[in-house]
């Protein structure tokens, strides 16, 4: 349960509770901005009722012809927000956007 919405640039100033987890990489700013600029519908964030960020999903589309597909670049959930089905919800969003907006054939990792 959360609000799943598009990731905004200003969210980068609020994602420490997700990114301080040792298995989550913090990329260069340009990496996040490139994904927002190129594939905004595939870069989503889950926000808790308290307003804190719970996790996010970065995706893109690539390939040609029947290999045109969505790709999961990064998917992460804050340690205290795990085991809630959040990653499943974020992935569902990415699959929907890949299919309905980008007309992809499949999604891969």
């Amino acid at each position: 349960m959360s609000t799943i919405r598009r990731f905004r640039a200003m969210d980068m100033l609020r994602f420490n509770n997700v990114n301080l987890d040792r298995y989550t990489e913090t990329y260069d700013l340009g990496f996040y901005l490139k994904y927002m600029a190129s594939w905004p519908a595939l870069f989503t964030v889950a926000e808790a009722p308290s307003g804190s960020l719970m996790g996010y999903n970065m995706g893109k589309v690539e390939g040609k012809g029947e290999l045109w597909h969505g790709h999961v670049t990064a998917l992460t959930v804050a340690p205290d927000c795990r085991r809630l089905g959040l990653a499943r919800g974020l992935m569902r969003g990415l699959e929907d956007a890949s299919e309905k907006i980008h007309d992809c054939y499949f999604v891969d990792l």
Binding site: T3, R5, A37, S38, A48, L84
Partner: protein, 883 residues
């Protein structure tokens, strides 16, 4: 032919060898002095070698050459030069000059547009978009024009032209819709933005009609679905908002839609029949709560609805908030997020109860519920991580209740602390490294810290406070040993180590968190500047340079990201990117990082000539601030990451605030440390009037805001004000400088260590900070002496002599401190910080000494080593400084 001539220059640039590139440029220019491309590229190369004034002069000269811009190489060289020089208007002039040769070059027109867009020169951006639309038939350029109009209007909303621009943008979009040229969600979002800026909400609702032309675009975008519901509420179409919310919630489980559903219902409640007004939403929430996949959202929505109804004066029409709160906790307490979810509603309900004088009753109710559940929760915690998490959540609620009822008795905060510690650190689940145990350890630490500040918050009890915080540190480090991945334990450990003046270990933990890139903006404040305060100048400078490099990279790359939004046609990002750019460009942490870097560079020792030259050449113009520019700074420092369990407005229970080692730098600090380099510059350049003005400004900051500045920085700042007074007196050669010199020397002496040391408090409190400040002040005083000598002022001798004596005294006392720190501090930790007393912390001391011996030894060593490192660094500083 031209490329062949230029190739050696390009090869040198590709090899990152600007010096060689410069040589190749000069070689070509000797043969062909007016070669426009060689001159243009030379201008760029000069920017890469730091010769910016020459670069600018050459660039402007090439720009004025009529035929130069016919060459693509010259265009490229010159645009790169102007970009490096930060001259966007001139960059645009390069393209417009090139267009005089090839007026229908679409690429060039696009370059004009993008140069204006990435530099936020909206007027030029608009003009370029108009040209693109006039000359080329590409629907994309219509949207570039529309967005340009919108940005221009937003940038100057009070400007009379803004309304005209918005109307024109609206008309262009309406035409695009009519022609079938509005095809993407991004274009739709631009349309909605234009209407939103004009407050045309009814029209927005029409555009977003579910049966309208653009319905398919909206249905595929969850954000727009939610935005539509919001709009319906704003236009008071509550019935439609409710319908839309229900439809959205049937399709997906989205908290924002629940909130809007509740808002729409509350706005349309009939006070005479409140129960009936909420019967439908209650039935919906009940039905959704029965669905396992969405139970959490629906149950929390029930709590939210009941709380809002209570706040709005409709009593328990949607249920009793306190009952529903405990219903939620009972069902979801095994999830780590449970407390974070429910905390805001417990606080809101408690606050609303204040209207009816019922806050105490609410707390009593919650307390009774806790007492009913706690024994069983503790009993079953060992059975699974879920059961353990349930206990942790109940303990967090207990913590909140104690804060809300204003509990100030430290022993109440430490009741059962050993039970929590045992579970977190020594139990079977702890040995299995269950996540809930780590959470319990953190909670126990938070209690110890809270109790410590309540018991020993007064200045006279600081030594006991440090003893209590040391015990908390032992618990934190034990927790970290068991679970290296728990970053909250590490954040608290960083704070407490710095509180006890232990930089080295704090820095090691900070480094283990791999904080980088944008996190330097949001988390850099945890460590940056503390090194300088604690004698570890070089370590801090490393971080400063990383930070400066981050901001420089951001500044040079962000404009490209803004440009790419136009290429990708994802226009909804533009306003967001611009806001982000403004935030990072003008942020408190950005300014602090630069000030610390300047401060660290000022502290570097060198010969007399070098030290004076450093301040003569310092660029002090770019760091001048006005009240307006300070007020425009954004504060992006993340303090919420410390996971507070209590509301922000309860300062006495705000652990983030309590554990700050020194006040966080704010506007006053930035202004003070902008003035210090300016003062040093004016002093070495003998600019007396400016010096007096800046010194008065600095003195005024100290007089008005001394609570906002760390004590050690106040020592430095007051010392610099005294230094200026001495310098001005010295320039009037009729009068002696004895009084001012004594004051300056006293300002340094008073902060050197005393002769006898018998307490750890000497080190853990302000001792090292004050000593570092005294060392820093001495370095500035040396510059004063060198400036007096260079300006042939007779006072130079007296100042030099006094500083020389001061240095001898300092070397002696700091050396003594170093020896004592090395020999005595470890045993003193046992004697002074771990001995069983009869205070409330005895239980904690017993626990750590009995079951965490290795950690206690490690923490003792970490503190002792950190202090020794700090003192040694300061000693080295004094050894290097010689007048």
């Amino acid at each position: 032919m031209e490329y062949r001539q230029l190739r050696p220059i390009y090869d040198a640039l590709e090899g990152s060898d600007p010096q060689r590139a410069l040589k190749e440029c000069d070689k070509l220019l000797r043969k062909h002095p007016n070669h426009p491309s060689a001159r243009a590229i030379k201008a760029y190369v000069l920017t890469q070698t730091g010769r910016t004034e020459e670069a600018l002069a050459l660039s402007l000269s090439v720009l004025e050459t009529p035929t130069a811009m016919a060459s693509a190489h010259a265009q490229q060289g010159l645009t790169l030069a102007f970009r490096a020089l930060g001259r966007p208007h001139e960059e645009i002039m390069v393209y417009t000059a090139a267009l005089a040769h090839t007026p229908n070059d679409e690429t060039l027109h696009c370059k004009v547009f993008k140069a204006a867009a990435r530099n936020r020169i909206f007027k030029e951006q608009h003009q370029a978009a108009v040209q693109l639309n006039k000359l080329f038939d590409n629907p994309k350029y219509i949207w570039w024009l529309v967005v340009s109009l919108l940005l221009q209007a937003r940038d100057s909303p009070k400007n009379a032209a803004a309304q005209v621009q918005l109307k024109l943008a609206e008309r262009l979009v309406e035409k695009a819709v009519a022609d079938g040229n509005l095809k993407s969600v991004e274009e739709l979002r631009v349309y909605l933005d234009i209407l939103d800026v004009q407050d045309k909400r009814e029209q927005m609702v029409e555009v977003m009609d579910v049966n309208g032309q653009l319905a398919a675009l909206i249905a595929n975008d969850p954000d727009l679905v939610t935005q539509r519901i919001e709009l319906l509420i704003k236009t008071q179409a509550y019935g439609k908002a409710v319908e839309a919310a229900i439809a959205a919630l049937k399709a997906r489980d989205n908290w924002a839609d629940y909130k809007l559903y509740i808002e729409a219902v509350i706005a349309s409640v009939d006070p005479a029949a409140a129960g009936a007004s909420v019967s439908t939403i209650c039935a919906h929430l009940e039905a959704w709560a029965a669905d396992r996949d969405r139970a959490r959202s629906a149950k929390l929505a029930q709590v939210a609805l009941a709380t809002r109804m209570f706040e709005s004066g409709f009593g328990d029409a949607a249920g009793l908030p306190e009952l529903l709160i405990w219903g939620f906790i009972d069902q979801f307490q095994e999830k780590a997020i449970c407390y974070t979810d429910i905390m805001q509603f417990i606080i809101a309900h408690h606050k609303a109860a204040g209207k009816y004088d019922a806050q105490a009753a609410v707390i009593d109710y919650h307390w009774a519920q806790l007492e009913k559940r706690m024994p069983a929760a503790r009993e079953s915690a060992g059975q699974s991580d879920g059961e353990a998490q349930a206990w942790v959540n109940l303990e967090k609620v207990r913590y909140l209740m104690q804060a809300l009822r204003g509990e100030t008795d430290p022993s109440a905060w430490l009741a059962d602390i050993e039970v929590l510690l045992n579970f977190g650190l020594t139990s079977k689940p702890a040995r299995k490294k269950q996540p809930a145990c780590s959470d319990m350890t953190l909670l126990a630490c938070q209690r110890i810290i809270q109790a410590a500040f309540l018991a020993y918050g007064a200045m006279s009890a600081r030594a006991q406070l440090h003893s209590a915080l040391f015990k908390a540190l032992c618990v934190l480090e034990s927790g970290i040993r068991l679970n290296e991945g728990n970053f909250m334990l590490k954040l608290y450990a960083i704070r407490l180590y710095l509180y006890l003046s232990c930089y080295e270990r704090a820095r090691a933990i900070y480094d283990s968190l791999s904080i980088k890139h944008v996190q330097q903006e949001t988390l850099g404040h945890m460590i940056l500047g503390h090194g300088m305060m604690l004698g570890c100048f070089a370590a801090d400078m490393e971080l400063c340079y990383d930070g400066v490099a981050f901001y420089d990279r951001f500044r040079s790359k962000m404009p490209r990201d803004i440009e790419s939004v136009y290429d990708q046609e994802t226009y909804s990002n533009i306003q967001d990117f611009i806001e982000f750019q403004r935030n990072l460009d003008c942020s408190v942490q950005h300014e602090c990082t630069h000030r610390y870097a300047l401060r660290g560079e000022g502290f570097e020792y060198g010969s007399a000539k070098e030290m004076v030259a450093r301040w003569e050449e310092a660029d002090t113009r770019s760091i001048e601030h006005t009240e307006e520019s300070l007020g425009a700074l954004h504060d992006n420092r993340d303090i919420s990451v410390m996971g507070l369990l209590t509301p922000k407005d309860l300062a006495q229970w705000d652990l983030e605030l309590l554990t700050r080692p020194v006040p966080m730098p704010g506007h006053e600090w930035i202004q003070a440390f902008s003035l210090v380099p300016q003062i040093m510059h004016h002093m070495v350049c003998a600019e007396i009037e400016l010096l007096q003005a800046k010194s008065s400004e600095l003195a005024a900051i100290v007089d008005k805001h001394d609570n906002a500045l760390p004590r050690s920085d106040l020592i430095l700042i007051r010392g610099i004000v005294d230094m200026v007074a001495l310098y001005i007196q010295a320039t009037d050669q009729q009068h002696a400088v004895d009084v001012q010199l004594d004051k300056l020397v006293e300002g340094i002496s008073a902060n050197l260590p005393e002769d006898q040391f018998d307490s750890l408090f000497v080190l853990s409190s302000d001792g090292i900070r004050n000593l570092s400040a005294a060392s820093e002040l001495f370095t500035y005083a040396l510059v004063l002496k060198h400036a007096l000598s260079a300006q042939h002022l007779p006072a130079a001798n007296a100042v030099g002599h006094a500083l020389s004596q001061q240095r001898k005294r300092a070397l002696k006392s700091v050396n003594a401190l170093r020896g004592w720190t090395d020999k005595c501090t470890r045993s003193l930790v046992s004697d002074q910080w771990l001995a069983d007393g009869d205070d409330a912390f005895a239980g904690v001391a017993r626990f750590v000494c009995d079951s965490q011996k290795q950690t206690v030894l490690a923490v003792t060593k970490a503190c002792s080593t950190s202090w020794l490192r700090s003192v040694k660094n300061v000693l080295m500083q004094w050894e290097q400084c010689s007048s």
